[in-house]
C-alpha cells in the first residue's frame, strides 16, 4: 500500500521535510508511520490527522491515506 505523509510548521522544520511517502507491506498505525519515516522521536505534543481529520496515534492507516503530523495549532 501507499501512504503519503505530511509535516507542518515546526515539525516540518524539525523533520527537515514537508512530505514523505511510504509503501509498507504490513498494516501500520499512525505512530508507526512516524517511526518508519523519521529518524527523530515524535515530540510529545504532536497532533496527527488522517485524510484531514484528527486521529489518535493508535489509529490504523489504510492504502492511499494522507497522514499529517503537526504541532499544537496557533491560529486566530
Amino acid at each position: 500500500m501507499t501512504i503519503s505523509v505530511r509535516f507542518f510548521a515546526s515539525l516540518r522544520e524539525l523533520v527537515g521535510s514537508s512530505e514523505a511517502s511510504l509503501e509498507p507491506t504490513d498494516p501500520l498505525t499512525v505512530q508507526q508511520v512516524w517511526s518508519n519515516t523519521c529518524t527523530i522521536a515524535m515530540p510529545d505534543n504532536t497532533l496527527c490527522a488522517i485524510n484531514m481529520e484528527y486521529v489518535d496515534l493508535s489509529q490504523a492507516v489504510k492504502d492511499g491515506d494522507e497522514v499529517a503530523f503537526f504541532p499544537p495549532v496557533t491560529g486566530g
Partner: protein
C-alpha cells in the same frame, strides 16, 4: 496555487475565506452584509477581529508568518460553522483568516455572526473563535529582532 489560499466556500449560510493578502475587516463585513444578508431580518450582528500586536510574551515582534494545512483548515472551519448553526439560531456567519506574512496592526482573523436576537450572535461568534483557535490547523511563526520562533500554544479564551 493562489486559489487555494483565497477561494470562498459558501455552504448554506456561511462563508469561509482564507486570505494570503491583507484585508480590511470593516469593509469586508459591510460588503458581505450588503450582498448576503436579508434586509430587515437580522437584529443582531456580533463580530470579533484578532489583530497582530507588536509584542508577545515580553518581546517586540516585527512580523509573523501564518502557515495552514490547505484543505484541512477549510474542513475544520466548515465543521465549526456547522456546529454553531446547529447549536444556535443564526442566519449567517463569516470567517476570514490570514495566511502568509502578517505585520503588526494587520487583522489576522475575523468571525461574524448574524442572527435575529443577540444571545445567539454573541454565543456563536465566541464559539467560532474558541473552536478556530483550538482546532483549525494554522500555525504562527514570529520574527523578532533576535530571530524567528514558532508560537507554541494559544492563550486560553
Amino acid at each position: 496555487m493562489k486559489w487555494l489560499f483565497s477561494h470562498r466556500l459558501p455552504v448554506a449560510e456561511m462563508t469561509i475565506d482564507i486570505r494570503s493578502e491583507a484585508f480590511n475587516p470593516w469593509t469586508e463585513i459591510q460588503s458581505y452584509q450588503s450582498a448576503q444578508l436579508p434586509a430587515g431580518k437580522y437584529g443582531a450582528t456580533a463580530s470579533f477581529i484578532g489583530t497582530m500586536r507588536d509584542f508577545n510574551e515580553g518581546d517586540g515582534v516585527q512580523a509573523m508568518t501564518l502557515e495552514h494545512y490547505p484543505g484541512m483548515t477549510e474542513n475544520y472551519l466548515t465543521k465549526i460553522c456547522n456546529e454553531a448553526m446547529q447549536r444556535w439560531d443564526i442566519i449567517d456567519c463569516l470567517i476570514i483568516h490570514r495566511v502568509g506574512k502578517v505585520e503588526p496592526n494587520d487583522p489576522i482573523v475575523l468571525t461574524v455572526v448574524w442572527s435575529a436576537h443577540r444571545g445567539a450572535a454573541f454565543d456563536a461568534c465566541r464559539y467560532l473563535m474558541e473552536e478556530l483557535k483550538s482546532r483549525a490547523p494554522f500555525w504562527k511563526k514570529e520574527s523578532l529582532a533576535s530571530g524567528e520562533r514558532w508560537v507554541e500554544k494559544n492563550s486560553p479564551g
